[in-house]
């Protein structure tokens, strides 16, 4: 790598630091995550505990919880996502500027959990790309902090410059190369023709 200015014998003494742009950008991104807490039910309480002084998320640079998606880059879906709320959740995700990451906190948002039911989204990955899943009902705040550390490791491996040069210059493409179309799986598939015939009562 060349240098734009002439370097005398010992660069370190003159206040120079050599690094790769990728690493500098990733270092900045991973240590200043701004979470958007989407506390939908009981898990939201643990999320608050995590940001509070006892567990102190500020140690990992992610304590600046923003209640506007425009200012956040980490969506924490904490709780039971219903199909009625799914539109709002996806809108919040769309409104967050790129680069952005998603943590599915708790079994409800990871897989639907115990709500094996008509009103609950069976895993937020039906509607959003998820980076880290946190099991537990609810997960302890330490588990979510662990998820944030894992996410930081994941961010370290990203190649923002390469993606930029590839011209992934769409609304959702810059930086993390996220796609508009979320993987779709796990949507319950009962259709109208599977209605029970009269006289037969479901034993569920």
């Amino acid at each position: 790598m060349g240098s734009l200015i002439e370097i005398k014998d010992n660069p370190a003494q003159e206040g120079f630091l050599w690094t790769r742009v990728d690493e500098l950008v990733n270092w900045g991104r991973k240590n200043s995550l701004w979470p958007m807490p989407l506390g939908l039910s009981c898990c939201g309480i643990e999320l608050m505990a995590m940001i509070g002084p006892k567990f102190d998320l500020a140690r990992f640079g992610a304590e600046a919880a923003r209640f506007s998606p425009r200012q956040a880059d980490l969506l924490v879906v904490a709780g039971t996502l219903t199909w009625k709320m799914a539109e709002a959740c996806r809108t919040i995700y769309d409104q967050m500027p790129d680069p952005k990451w998603v943590i599915a906190m708790g079994v409800c948002s990871s897989s639907g959990g115990m709500y094996d039911s008509y009103s609950v989204v069976q895993g937020v990955d039906s509607i959003l790309p998820v980076d880290v899943y946190v099991p537990g009902c609810p997960p302890r705040p330490d588990a979510v902090i662990d998820a944030i550390l894992k996410l930081q490791k994941k961010i370290e491996r990203e190649r923002p410059v390469e993606l930029l040069l590839q011209g992934a210059n769409t609304d959702e493409g810059i930086g993390t190369r996220r796609f508009d179309r979320a993987p779709n799986r796990g949507v319950p598939t009962t259709r109208s023709h599977e209605f029970l015939p009269p006289g037969q009562v479901s034993d569920r």
């Binding site: 199909w83 009625k84 799914a86 539109e87 996806r90 769309d94 094996d116 039911s117 008509y118 009103s119 989204v121 039906s126 509607i127 769409t170 609304d171 959702e172 493409g173 508009d180 179309r181 949507v187 319950p188 598939t189 009962t190 259709r191 109208s192 599977e194 209605f195 029970l196 009269p198 006289g199 009562v201 479901s202 569920r204």
Partner: protein, 181 residues
């Protein structure tokens, strides 16, 4: 002092009401479906039950008549409660609304409509309470599968509109790429 049951019996005189005592000791009245409004009015005016605490239904599918409606009333002054039952059936179950007598029943009736599809005639604002308004099904009916019937339909419709919005450049680009291929 007369017992609750005698008081209720006297109030509902001539309505083909059968009164029994439930296992929890609460007097339970069963009336024909077309006499419900009259019975509720008499309970309020003659027997002194001035509060409605519950409107709900039970689905006895596949028995006919299918739905058993249940109202509960409370008399604060006499510390009494009664339960009123009526059976209705058919594809379009309907029953008279009681919100002109008990305005507080409006929400319970909306919930009952939302979950069982029972139409309360005379209820002006009868629309869904919990499920989205465009939802087609009635989840607490016994023939409704517990996974639901296409639970994601409304979301998918919304999602398609969102993608096709002209401002969604990512989607437009994707479409063009797909077209070029």
């Amino acid at each position: 002092m007369t017992s609750t049951q005698e008081r209720v019996q006297a109030a509902l005189d001539g309505l083909q009401a059968s009164i029994s005592s439930a296992r929890d000791g609460m007097p339970t009245i069963t009336v024909p479906a077309d006499k419900v409004r009259e019975a509720v009015q008499r309970l309020k005016e003659r027997a002194g039950f001035e509060t409605n605490t519950l409107v709900t239904a039970v689905d006895h599918y596949p028995a006919e008549p299918r739905y058993e409606l249940c109202w509960q009333f409370l008399s604060v002054s006499m510390n009494d409660r009664v339960r009123l039952h009526a059976r209705i059936g058919g594809d379009q179950p309907a029953i008279a609304s009681i919100i002109d007598l008990f305005p507080g029943a409006a929400y319970s009736e909306r919930e009952c409509f939302d979950m069982f599809g029972i139409v309360f005639t005379g209820h002006a604002g009868l629309k869904r309470l919990l499920m989205p308004e465009e939802y087609d099904h009635f989840p607490l009916r016994k023939d409704f599968p517990h996974h639901g019937i296409e639970p994601d339909r409304l979301y998918r419709e919304w999602d398609r509109k969102r993608r096709e919005r002209p401002s969604n450049t990512a989607f437009q680009q994707e479409q063009q790429e797909e077209g070029a291929r």
